[in-house]
Amino acid sequence: MDKKTVLAVVLSILVLLVFQHFYYPTTYSPMVEDNGTIPMDKDTNVKNNTLNSDFLQPELQSVKKNTSFDTFRIDNNFLSILFNKENGNIHSAKIIKYKEKIVSDIIFETENNDYFTILSQGGSETKYDIKESENSYIIEFDIFHNDMVFSKIYTVKKNSYLIKIDYKISNIGDKSYIIPLEFTIGPGLGKGFDTGKYIFNGPLIYDNKKIHKKKPAKVKEDIVVQNPLWIGYTSKYFLFAIVGTFPKGSITKNGESAQVKMSDELILNPGDIKKSTASIYAGPKEYSYLKSLGFKLEKSIDFGIFSFLSIPFLMVMNYFYSIFNNFGFAIILLTMIIKIVTFPLTNTSMASMRKMQNLQPEMKKIREKFKGESQKINTAIMDLYKKNKVNPIGGCLPMILQIPIFIALYKALLVSIELKGEPFIGWITDLSMKDPYYITPILMGISMFIQQRMTPSTGDPNQQKIFMLMPVIFTFLFINFPAGLVIYWLVNNVLTIIQQYFINKRTSARQI
C-alpha cells in the first residue's frame, strides 16, 4: 500500500471512531437503590380502577439519607404519581404504560426535592382532599399562609398522560401583596431514561417560535424566554412538561444540573382572587399523540433540520403500521416508496455510468494522445461525451438532494418512540435497539459488497483496495445502530442492486 492508501485507511478508521463516539447509543440500566421507602399513609391511597397487585406494597424508591417526603400515590392507567402532602407538589411521576406495553421504572424525579413544584410562599397549614369520579381523580390542596390561601386542584384523568391544574390564590387579609409565582421542573430527569450522548436530554422552553434548550451541565447563566407556551424536561422518548400562561420562562443552573421554570408576579389587593389553569404532561413523545393534544408539545421531538421530511416519513410509516401492525414492514414499504420516487434521478445516473465505462478505452487513448495538455484533453473528452450522448442527465444536484432524504429518514427512525419495543420478525424483537445477533448489519455489509461489484469501477488498484474496505467499515458503523435503521439501509441496498441488475442487462443488450 502506498502513502495515499495508508492515509485513507487511517482517516476512515478515525471517522469510524469519531462516529461511534457520538452516535453510539448508550443503554441505560436502571439502578435500584436499596435505601428506604417513602412513608405512605395507606388510608389515603386511592385505588386504581384496575387494582394492581403491588398496590399496597411499599414502593421501592430512592430516598436520600436525611430526607423523607410525606406523600401519597395516585395511579391512573398510564401514570403513577406521588403527591407531596405538605405542599401539594408532584414529588415524582412514574410512567407505567405505553401503548398497552408495560414499561419499567421510568420515573421523573429529583434528589432531595419534589420534581414539579408550584412555589408561591411556603404554607403553614395544608389541607387536601381526594375525590374519584368515573373518569378521573380530583386532588385538591388548600395551602394557608397568613393572609393567603393557595389552592391547587389536580385533575388526573384515568386514561391520559395529561394532568390539569386549576390554581387559585386568594387574599383574605386586609393588606396588598406581591406574590411571586413559579412553576419549576427538575433538576434532572430521573431514572430509567434512554440517555444517548447524541440525543438531547435536558430542559426545554418553547415560545411558539422555537425551542430553547441547553444541556443541563452546560447551563451557567440563566436562559430567559418571554411568553413561553410550555416548559419541559425531555429524554429521547419521554417528556415532562407544563403548559401555562406565564410572562417568563427560564432555564437556571442548579448544582451540577439545571431547572426549568415558568414565573409570574401577582399583585393581590385585599379580597382579590387570582385564578388560572395549567396542564402537566408526563408521557411518551409520540408525534401524532402530542399533536392531537394541541399544545405544540410535539416540538419537543428533535427531528433535526429536515423535519419537514422526517415528519411525513413518520406519518407514512404510521399509516403502514396501522395496516400491517408491524413497524419493520412499514420501514420496508417506505423505503420502497422513496426508491420509486427518486428512481428517475438515480436511474439515469446509473445508466450513464455504464455507458461511461464503455468509453473508458477511448478516454485512455485521448489521455495518452494529449499527455500534459490538459486543455486539449478536456475538450476532447467533452466532444467524446457529446458524440456518445453520455452527458449524465442527472447531474450533481439530484445526487446532493438525496442526502436530506437519508438524514430525514435516519432521524425519524432514531428519535421516534413508535419503534420502541416494536418487533420485526424472528430475532429482532425491538427495532429501536441494535440487532442482538448482528445479522442485519452483516447482511448490509454483504449487500454493499455486491453493490460495489456491480457498479463500474475505475482503474486505480489502490482505490480498489479502499473500496473493498468500505463494506467492512460500514458494517462496523452500523453494528450498534437501531435495527430499524439497519433494515432501511439493507432494503435500500437490495433495491439498488435490483435496479443495477436491470440497468446492466439493458445497457449490455443494447451494445450487442
Binding site: 485513507a8 476512515s12 434521478l345 445516473s349 452527458n391 447531474g395 450533481c396 444536484l397 460495489q452 457498479t455
Partner: protein
C-alpha cells in the same frame, strides 16, 4: 492569514478524500468538466474561501437535469 491557509488546505483535502473514497461509489453524475468537486477544489485554492465556496455551490446548483453541462473551467 495562516488560519485561512490551513482552512483552505483542510477543505481541499476533504474534497480529495471524498473524490478518492466516496465519489466512485456514487458513480459519475457530473455534467461538467472539470467535475463539480474538482472545480470546487481549484476555485477555492485560486480565489479563496469567500469567493470560492459560493462559486462551488453555484456550480452544483447549475449541475442539474435541465442544464447542458460541458466544459466549464475556472475563470
Amino acid at each position: 492569514m495562516k488560519l485561512k491557509y490551513y482552512l483552505v488546505k483542510l477543505i481541499v483535502k476533504t474534497i480529495s478524500l471524498y473524490q478518492y473514497m466516496i465519489s466512485p461509489y456514487l458513480g459519475k453524475n457530473c455534467k461538467y468538466y472539470p467535475t463539480c468537486s474538482e472545480y470546487a477544489k481549484q476555485v477555492i485554492e485560486k480565489k479563496g474561501l469567500i469567493k470560492g465556496i459560493p462559486l462551488s455551490i453555484w456550480r452544483i446548483i447549475r449541475c442539474n437535469p435541465f442544464s447542458h453541462g460541458g466544459y466549464d473551467p475556472i475563470k
